[in-house]
Symmetry: D2
């Protein structure tokens, strides 16, 4: 979805999201390494859950920034309906 330049992710949040995603990627590579051996199922499940926890944290950061910088000012811009539809879609359970 193309947006005027104003609706971009806050640069500081963007950088921290990158750092966290890089570590989540490293973690994921660790699980791939594990799967080369003969891992115990529950150990694999725990590692997957840890990566999901890290992704949750990134999602929370981006969501907070979006609420603050974009959703809270929707009425001023006049795009409340679109902001709310998008957000309800992305907040639905996986």
């Amino acid at each position: 979805m193309t947006h005027e330049h104003t609706l971009h992710l806050d640069p500081r949040v963007r950088q921290e999201a990158r750092n966290r995603l890089l570590s989540a990627k490293g973690h994921l590579e660790g699980i791939l390494k594990m799967l080369e051996g003969e891992p115990y199922c529950v150990d694999v499940l725990k590692q997957i859950k840890a990566v999901q926890g890290a992704l949750d944290k990134v999602g929370e950061m981006v969501l907070r920034s979006h609420l603050e910088h974009h959703v809270a000012s929707a009425a001023v811009r006049g795009d409340t309906q679109r902001m709310v539809e998008e957000l309800m879609e992305v907040l639905k359970y996986r």
Copy 2:
């Protein structure tokens, strides 16, 4: 946690889990690429959710295999308590 050789992840499930995790990793690299530009917050949130969904699928595969090959035969091995404790821990919400 060290386990007798019998409690390993089924080799076929292990291979499919590897393939799916490799694609999740590629997806995650896509988000990192996105964050080099000026992405719109909701687009980032959607991509994170897609990676979460892929990880959910891998988790479900490993869980099913564990239930079938290990938990269902716990009473025969005599390690029901440990199997149940581990499973309840890993099934808790993130």
Copy 3:
């Protein structure tokens, strides 16, 4: 939390939420009835999950109304920080 009269739940949404919660309550009473007999565990789990689904729907309705009527105009009222903090708290995983 006391709020000026303007920050109330939209009356139409409030009525629909009441109706849905009344039916969720009836459903819950059904589970209680079930537990007077000798139910099979998985049947109980399915019924609990159905009530959770109904509560999810009510939550989604109230959230949508809150985003539309209150969060989207936070910048106009000047209470963006509080709106975002509250929302992040309530959106956290159970």
Copy 4:
């Protein structure tokens, strides 16, 4: 699903589940009361989440009992496939 008498919910777990569901029902009635007035949206969301938390706890209790008393002995009874299918179904995200 009809089951031999052996596959019933453990009586002690059944009683505690009843008690917890009774209190969840009381809590739900509290939200209904709230909706008769002019509640603030986030207060309603918090109460719904609290009821869901209580239902999660009941679900966890019933699940633990099912794993211990039924799933762990599936290989002995010879109904592993059915036990696993049912469990995977009920464990899926709402």
